[in-house]
């Protein structure tokens, strides 16, 4: 690809080839599946049944082990989607667009989980399901960003156009996320409404901290698994007829 304005290393070029990606993702897929299942179960059981209760919040504290991973993932998936989209736009790489598109549904799911678990958590802690707190509001806006990208994808029938549109919107959204966050925080302090703050404890006992680490890692593995699976199916759809795919054992059924 000499006409590319920016040179890319060989492995990078390779990664952009659907054939190579399909094979490599096929190898990784089962490992991520095992890791996700193991880490999530381990972390959840530990967090539910073995971690000590919080001295202030009691047992509702255990919601943290699902709420925080979801909240973290909701943001990093958006970032990942934008990066994949940018790679696609700059190097004109089809697979990158497919990866970006694969992020949408799972990212929206994590955002929804963060919102709902946070809201449920708020009831015993704050006495209300929802307050117009800065963090909550910006998560809600993030959810709307995901919803917009999802709707746009559904509305555009041609695959490569949908991929590019996703990329543009993800990039614009990512640049905007810090601005939204900042503005919302600032707006909220101005009005001085809710005196609630998220409990930030500087030092947690390891018994409380480690399950969180496990579920966060497990969530990342699950995210990777879903993205690989969705990207692979998009490759199959777009390459139907390519000889490498026709001879692949997934098709020949060996």
């Amino acid at each position: 690809m000499t006409e590319s304005s920016w040179r890319m290393p060989r492995w990078f070029h390779q990664m952009g080839s659907p054939k190579w990606f399909y094979g490599f993702a096929g190898i990784l897929q089962p490992w991520f599946a095992i890791a996700a299942l193991g880490l999530l179960t381990w972390g959840a059981v530990w967090g539910l049944a073995f971690a000590p209760a919080d001295y202030q919040q009691g047992n509702s504290f255990r919601i943290m082990y699902v709420h925080v991973p979801a909240a973290i993932l909701s943001q990093s998936i958006f970032l990942g989607m934008a990066v994949a989209g940018a790679v696609g736009l700059v190097w004109k790489m089809k697979v990158a667009f497919m990866v970006a598109r694969s992020c949408i549904a799972i990212g929206a799911t994590f955002t929804a989980i963060a919102l709902v678990t946070g809201a449920i958590w708020g009831k015993p802690t704050w006495g209300a399901y929802w307050v117009w707190d800065a963090r909550l509001t910006s998560t809600l806006v993030l959810f709307f960003l995901y919803a917009g990208i999802m709707a746009l994808n559904q509305a555009i029938s041609e695959r490569h156009i949908a991929g590019k549109a996703t990329a543009i919107l993800a990039i614009v959204g990512t640049i905007n996320i810090p601005i939204i966050k900042y503005s919302v925080e600032w707006w909220n302090t101005l009005h001085q409404s809710s005196s609630f703050t998220l409990t930030a404890k500087p030092s947690m006992p390891a018994d409380m901290y480690l399950p969180l680490l496990l579920t966060v890692l497990g969530s990342y593995c699950l995210f990777a698994l879903v993205v690989l699976m969705r990207t692979r199916s998009q490759i199959v759809q777009s390459q139907s007829g390519a000889s490498w795919l026709m001879q692949h054992r997934d098709i020949t059924g060996a």
């Binding site: 952009g16 080839s17 054939k19 190097w91 004109k92 089809k94 991929g163 390519a242 000889s243």
Partner: protein
């Protein structure tokens, strides 16, 4: 015509151009050269890919496989497709004014002359919404007389024209190619000119199921 004809260079050419839509291959390995004075008549049955080809040449449809090469960057093309690009609320004259304004400017008398040329004398100040199908097509074609371009890409330009209109238009095509321009057009009617070059897309479509080679990267 303002530009000086130079019949030896080529204006544009394609190299191994192919197109696939919806996993049906439309044409494959298409190579042709468009030189000044050429009139290409793109043929093929419905759904053969004529419109797609013209849009690829105009740069309105992505080229995934193969290449379209232009002689230089300043080559001027006019594309008139199924959708005419006219604003219904504006009059014929106003429409021509902005269309011409995209790559040049025009005086009102030039525009009136172009409209008279396509047989729309007396309709200059009618909103396009109030014109008949054939009259609308004529307004769009008037642009050919107003803006000088090297290559005309015309997608079924005879649609809704009456018989005299078609005869007139063929005459314009003849004059344009004589003066060193080139034309690529589609039509299901035959063109009665001596030097028409036929590009039959039926010949280029591969067997169903055959697939285009994937180059790994694509220009979207």
């Amino acid at each position: 015509m303002s530009f000086t004809p130079s019949f030896d260079v080529h204006l544009l050419c394609t190299s191994a151009l192919a197109c696939e839509r919806d996993s049906r291959v439309l044409y494959n390995d298409l190579n042709f050269v468009v030189k000044p004075g050429h009139l290409w008549h793109v043929k093929g049955r419905n759904g053969a890919g004529k419109t797609t080809l013209l849009r690829q040449l105009a740069g309105l449809h992505p080229v995934d496989t193969g290449e379209v090469l232009y002689s230089n960057n300043s080559i001027k093309m006019i594309y008139i497709g199924h959708k005419l690009g006219l604003k219904e609320q504006l009059t014929a004259d106003e429409n021509l004014c902005w269309l011409a304004g995209l790559d040049g400017s025009s005086t009102q008398s030039q525009r009136y002359a172009a409209l008279e040329h396509v047989g729309l004398r007396g309709y200059e100040e009618n909103p396009v919404a109030q014109l008949s199908a054939g009259q609308k097509r004529r307004v769009a074609l008037a642009r050919l007389h107003l803006c000088k371009a090297d290559v005309w890409l015309l997608d079924e330009p005879f649609t809704s024209l009456d018989q005299q209109g078609i005869i007139d238009e063929i005459d314009w095509l003849r004059q344009h190619t004589r003066a060193g321009g080139a034309v690529l057009m589609t039509s299901h009617q035959d063109i009665n000119l001596p030097n028409v070059k036929i590009l039959d897309l039926g010949q280029y479509s591969p067997l169903l199921g055959e697939c285009l080679p994937d180059k790994g990267s694509s220009i979207i």
